[in-house]
Subunit: 222 residues, 4 copies
């Protein structure tokens, strides 16, 4: 028994190491490619600063997507921190998640292009919203699957487990609401997506810990 | 003897670690670059949604190539899981494979461009088919070479060994048939390439294991 | 106590390993994407060499940004070398830094575009200067935070600690001065940014060590 | 003494690990970005296949640069295999090398553009040749510096050491000759660069070992 568990631990390290390396690669590339969509503003008679200011939708879309991919990476790295092994189904679920992550630069580009065209903007923001919602649900699914399939360290405190879920479930609900809002007020919805990403990133637990004494429960909050 | 094997084990870790890191990098970049080819649909009078719908060949080509690179990465990571060392020839074969992987975004772009032009589409789909067939044969060759050159863990069960081959040989045959089909019905052939990638990715063994009790044989199925 | 510290050390390796892998990915991609902005010079009647010479602002901007991202990566890797663990706040600060790093190709492109248009050039160089100043302040902040939050090895010699700060504080001051200079003489300011990057990269300590005998203090100078 | 060496070994692993991860990232991105320069051939009346055939200079330039970056990566990974530590100067030299590697897609693009314009082609091939020559000299310099600064395992056999040099010195001489040839017959010079890359990649030692019994000397040949 000990022999087998030692063997599986070795397998684990190989397996999750490559899973993480590949995932980190895709996350890092997707987050860095976003900048390629920012076009140099054309400074005509009105000057570069004015021209740049008119390009604000691109910058906003860039910031939203950077924050979203960053938040998803944080959640993903927190999950992988607790992972003791990966099984075939987990690896495939992860591949589907990476599909969504690497796709995100496209809806970002579409939103930035159509911000000022009311009807098209609604479609663009809806495509964007569906993409991030699916992404978040896949991360949640990955975490739930890992818990049920026993891929996770035995000593994950209940607090930690709940903290991860406690972040992502309200975010998913917010994404669903923003999908509806996007049909009425697409620009506000875009700001909403930024707010959710900041909520996912912000280290509430850590701040509390600095004030009080939350101790080990902190780890889950990261 | 033990001394030498300890030394080679150390070498192994260095060597295969960089081999994997570099390979993961190329796979991750190739799979993420695909999204750059998706152009923002031009919403004229007909609306963004209609415009986007007309771009379906790009999206299909994107999905096919993502699935294919994903499937190849899975096969590659399964091989490297069993690897105990890498020799000069293995490293070079791997470099040729990475050449094909990093080339794939190009035929993808060509297929997406020429979907509606019958004659050109045939040429495009054939170039695509040759690329993925060569890629698959190289992965198979990598695996066969690793087995013969003794680069693989002694305890790879026969089941595992066969499982990897059992996946890739029919896929290679399917690719060869799709090459012929591509001359007659290029769009159907494109869908065939998607089907093969899904076949390569789908965790049959794992599903079986959840129902029955396939046990250790599972590892090979991943 | 020993048990806990052993556990946290294990957590540490997981945590900082992914933090470093993701950071290295973003740094490597940002530094390599810069080359995509270099357009092929159009050789008309005057020949390719003359055409290429006229494109010098692009090449200069490319070299400045490569040196700057390289210098920031060096500082970042030196910090992470001393890191024994990462906490939620450190991870978020790092994410903000990566935001700035991955954004840098954009101001680089803007500077290269507007070098010969006096008014626009000032705006461009100012945007560039603000970006690199914020980047440097974030690295300094990361280092200060790591020191205060106790994330750093106990045996960081005072010399090492000061060496890192001794490099970055004057660089930050120089960046602030170059921001002002950029309003008067933007091209000179651009050269100033290159000089600061070279100053950050140049291994003063190491050179001194080769002459005299600086010993362990060297490590901090890297 | 043992204490210090243990400590430096720990430092080593941190230091060279990030050095390798960052280097692998830049190599992997540079080699994969090359494909972005391949434009979809425009199939007019003459058909896609004829159009694609006319684009052969792009494909050739792509293949040459892929092989060259691949060869340089092989040499780099062989060096890092023997590395026991990295010092400040080694890290900076490596950064300069990465500058050249990440720059290579640009001369590749220039060569592909000007293949059929005699005068411009000469300039383009010369720029290309200078870039790869500088790159190779930097790798050689890195290796020589590592040997002299004692950054290399004590048990590097003389054979191994010579093998690495024995490959790179003739390649550097060939590059210098190709620079001259490029002024007279630029297309032949381009094929020469491909030949040198293949020479650098080809596992001569390994082939010999399979026939005879070269034994441990093999490692250096990789």
């Amino acid at each position: 028994m000990t022999d087998r568990s030692a063997g599986s631990r070795r397998t684990r390290q190989l397996r999750t190491a490559r899973l993480e390396a590949f995932s980190d690669g895709v996350f890092a590339i997707a987050i860095t490619l976003l900048v390629l969509e920012l076009a140099v503003p054309i400074a005509g008679t009105q000057g570069l600063l004015t021209a740049a200011r008119e390009e604000w939708p691109s910058y906003l879309a860039y910031a939203i997507s950077f924050a979203t991919v960053g938040a998803f990476w944080l959640a993903h790295s927190t999950i992988s921190e607790y992972l003791t092994s990966a099984d075939p189904i987990f690896v495939r679920l992860n591949l589907v998640l990476l599909f969504v992550i690497s796709f995100l630069p496209f809806p970002t580009k579409v939103v930035a292009t159509y911000v000022h065209q009311e009807r098209a903007e609604r479609v663009a923001v809806t495509i964007y919203g569906v993409t991030v919602l699916v992404g978040l649900l896949l991360i949640l699914g990955l975490w739930q699957y890992a818990l049920r399939a026993g891929l996770v360290q035995v000593d994950v405190g209940e607090i930690d487990e709940r903290l991860l879920t406690r972040r992502m479930v309200p975010a998913a609900v917010a994404y669903a609401l923003l999908l509806v809002l996007g049909l009425l007020a697409p620009t506000s919805a875009a700001l909403g997506y930024l707010a959710v990403a900041v909520f996912l990133i912000f280290p509430f637990g850590a701040v509390r810990a600095h004030r009080g004494d939350a101790g080990d429960g902190e780890r889950g909050a990261s």
